[in-house]
């Protein structure tokens, strides 16, 4: 449901841009037939209804997806409005308020979005209910209307003439209208029906109900109603002479009602902007051909520029697509470059980018490096998150770099939006993750400990010793003694194996397969120092010892000597094979 809501939100934002464009165009095209203005509003409707669109370089929409659904799941929520100034104003606030705290399961943004979705649906329900009730009440009031002729009815409850009904539209008039007034009014309402306005207006209102939260759309609807009336007037008086037009505007005035309600169904005669309409009628001149032409061209341009979405960023280099994740390792003091090249065309605009990483106490440098002369524009960061802004970067080719001189790092970068040509801002979120490294070094520490433990006994020349282990459980613990460093206990199944190699044949010489518990001191810099190496006693004590030492269900796994043995055996075999074939090669090259 949240995805639907976000989709609607994004569509209404893009439609909002189009509405602004239409409003501007409307002011400029005052002389043009209002028919064309109505078509422009149709474009807005299309934008609201169609979830997809063509991409085009001519698009003037700042961003097709301002609020990405990913925002609910990412560690660093941001929005892409497509306007750099707006982005840099809003995103820091969003990051500040909505970044999910590490370790907390509930993402605040998810909760807010859920609430917003519910509110949205409730708004729609309320408006639908209101519309339905109004329609039924109106129907009931004109129930006793008397048929005049064809589909024209009269009722004492009608103050101002209108059209009601979508499938079988009826014209409702008040009693006691003069012949002349009736002629004009009937002509007007019949023109409405011919232009199918009794379909368009409810359709527009229905769209308004769905997207009720966007104030620009309310304005669009009001203007649409106005333009529909004006277009209808134009059509009616097109064939009337000058004097008849004066009479028509007199009728307009007589029937004018000062109603400020926004109703969907009745196309009331005097409802909208009477002053404007009278002015329009009296000043009406058949528009010159070139005026119509200009208006049509303007309309088409607006359609192309605002119905199409901004083109996906052109990548100058590199073989990735937006959303890909990269991971690679950094050796200390090594610099990693974000794959694609960036070409900046324009000097002026400040660049902004966002980077998040963990652990947060890591000091990281990142920024842009110019390809040609290696000048760096960098930001230093400690604290897990950085929003960098670089000003006055001259045009040219750049690479994005990330480095940390402190430790081995593995990091991943996800591209959120990246524009290469032009001076638009780019955002990317990356995480520098140390956990892989930690895991690797833990494994390494275990391997080292196992090999060390088994080292003494009779290793002869040409024998290769290796180990493989499967971690069943880990337990973090507080400081073991006055050391003040934390400890970690690993419960694993350890296979220790020795091999010999003769005449191209691999043979196992000895080994052991034992559940083992290793306790390490963990230093601040992430190093593991072995503190205790525990194995169960033999014979009848074996099972009890394991059950006592190993936590939870890992004891069961430890006692199951079939579960991991194949895997570990294979691993050791491979290690041995690699070792001996390397030796073989070395021997050959001697």
């Amino acid at each position: 449901m949240e995805a639907v809501f976000l989709g609607a939100l994004n569509r209404s934002i893009t439609a909002g841009w189009l509405v602004l464009a239409v409003v501007v165009l409307r002011l400029l095209l005052k002389k043009a037939p209002k028919r064309i203005t109505c078509l422009l509003w149709a474009l807005v409707a299309i934008r609201l209804v169609c979830p997809f669109s063509y991409e085009s370089a001519l698009s003037l929409i700042p961003s097709a997806e301002t609020v990405s659904p990913e925002i609910l799941y990412t560690r660093s929520p941001t929005i892409q409005t497509g306007i750099p100034a707006l982005n840099s104003a809003v995103n820091p606030l969003i990051l500040q308020s909505f970044t999910p705290a590490v370790g907390v399961s509930a993402n605040p943004l998810q909760i807010w979005t859920f609430l917003a979705s519910v509110l949205w649906l409730m708004g729609i329900a309320a408006m639908l209910l209101y519309t339905l009730i109004s329609y039924i009440r109106l129907q009931r009031r004109v129930q006793t209307a008397v048929l005049l002729r064809e589909n024209i009815w009269q009722s004492e409850y009608v103050t101002s003439p209108f059209v009601l009904g979508i499938i079988c539209p009826r014209i409702y008039l008040p009693f006691g209208m003069s012949e002349e007034d009736m002629t004009h009014v009937i002509a007007h309402e019949q023109t409405h029906i011919r232009r199918r306005d009794h379909w368009w207006k409810p359709l527009g209102f229905f769209l308004l109900i769905v997207y009720w939260f966007n104030p620009l759309l309310w304005m669009a609807y009001v203007l649409l109603c106005r333009d529909i009336e004006l277009a209808c007037d134009e059509r009616v008086i097109r064939d009337l002479g000058g004097e008849a037009r004066a009479d028509y505007s007199a009728t307009l005035l007589k029937c004018s009602v000062s109603r400020s309600s926004i109703a969907a169904c009745p196309l009331a005669f005097g409802e909208v902007g009477v002053k404007q309409r009278v002015k329009n009628v009296l000043n009406y001149k058949k528009p010159a051909f070139w005026v119509i032409l200009v208006a049509v061209i303007a309309g088409l341009s607006v359609a192309v520029c605002f119905l199409t979405d901004p083109a996906a960023p052109k990548i100058a280099d590199g073989n990735f697509t937006l959303g890909d994740t990269f991971s690679f390792t950094l050796e200390p003091s090594e610099t990693a470059y974000y794959p694609p090249e960036i070409t900046l065309q324009d000097d002026s605009s400040p660049l902004q980018y966002t980077l998040t990483y963990s652990p947060s106490d890591l000091r990281v440098e990142f920024g842009l490096m110019a390809e040609d002369d290696g000048t760096e524009y960098l930001t230093e960061s400690v604290g897990g998150r950085a929003i960098g802004r670089i000003r006055d970067v001259p045009a040219g080719k750049y690479r994005v770099f990330i480095r940390s001189s402190e430790k081995n790092l593995e990091y991943s970068v996800t591209a959120k939006s990246l524009t290469i040509e032009g001076n638009m801002a780019f955002d990317f979120a990356g995480t520098i993750d140390d956990t892989q490294q930690k895991a690797r070094s833990l494994d390494a520490a275990i391997t080292a400990a196992v090999l060390e433990e088994n080292r003494d006994a009779h290793i002869s020349a040409g024998e290769f010793a290796c180990e493989s282990h499967a971690i069943l459980a880990t337990e973090a613990g507080g400081p073991a003694d006055s050391n003040q460093t934390d400890t970690m206990t690993v419960y694993a199944l350890v296979l220790y194996q020795r091999y010999t190699y003769a005449d191209g044949e691999l043979a196992e010489s000895s080994g052991s397969y034992i559940p083992t518990a290793l306790t390490f001191d963990v230093s601040v810099s992430g190093e593991y120092m072995l503190r205790e190496y525990w194995i169960p006693r033999d014979g009848s004590y074996y099972a009890d010892d394991i059950r006592e030492k190993f936590p939870g269900s890992s004891a069961q796994d430890a006692l199951d000597d079939q579960k991991y043995i194949e895997l570990l055996q294979k691993d050791c075999d491979t290690q041995a094979q690699t070792y001996f074939s390397g030796a073989d090669v070395a021997a050959e090259t001697k």
Binding site: T144, V146, L147, W153, S155, E156, F175
Partner: protein, 120 residues
């Protein structure tokens, strides 16, 4: 007598009733359909409403009126004179004569009415 209020469309209904009463409700429905374009439910609703107001009577599906056309017209004029001419009938008639074009026959008819009024 307090004249119950009759709205314009209801008045058209009453015209039909006055011309055909007493009349079976089903036939009345048919006439209203032809002349007014009303659905049967509408006609029945109006019959019910007017009988509540004391304008018509519906006994065993036969509909009759409780007020006559004359009475209704007279009441309308009274109300009009009261509201718009401060209760002065002469003022109303003067305005009427000034505004409407009366033919010779109309003038004679009115004169005859006045004479009759004087005598009886």
């Amino acid at each position: 007598m307090e004249m119950p209020k009759i709205f314009e469309s209801e008045y058209r209904f009453c015209l039909i009733l006055w011309n055909h009463e007493p009349i079976k409700s089903t036939e009345l429905v048919k006439l209203c359909q032809e002349q007014l374009g009303w659905k049967p439910t509408t006609t029945y609703t109006v019959i019910k409403r007017l009988s509540e107001r004391g304008v018509v009577k519906n006994e065993k599906t036969v509909v009759t009126s409780l007020v006559s056309k004359d009475e209704v017209q007279a009441a309308e004029i009274d109300e009009l004179v009261e509201k718009k001419f401060e209760g002065s009938m002469p003022a109303f008639l003067a305005a009427f004569a000034k505004h409407q074009k009366l033919s010779q026959e109309d003038v004679d008819a009115v004169q005859g009415m006045i004479d009759q009024y004087r005598e009886g």
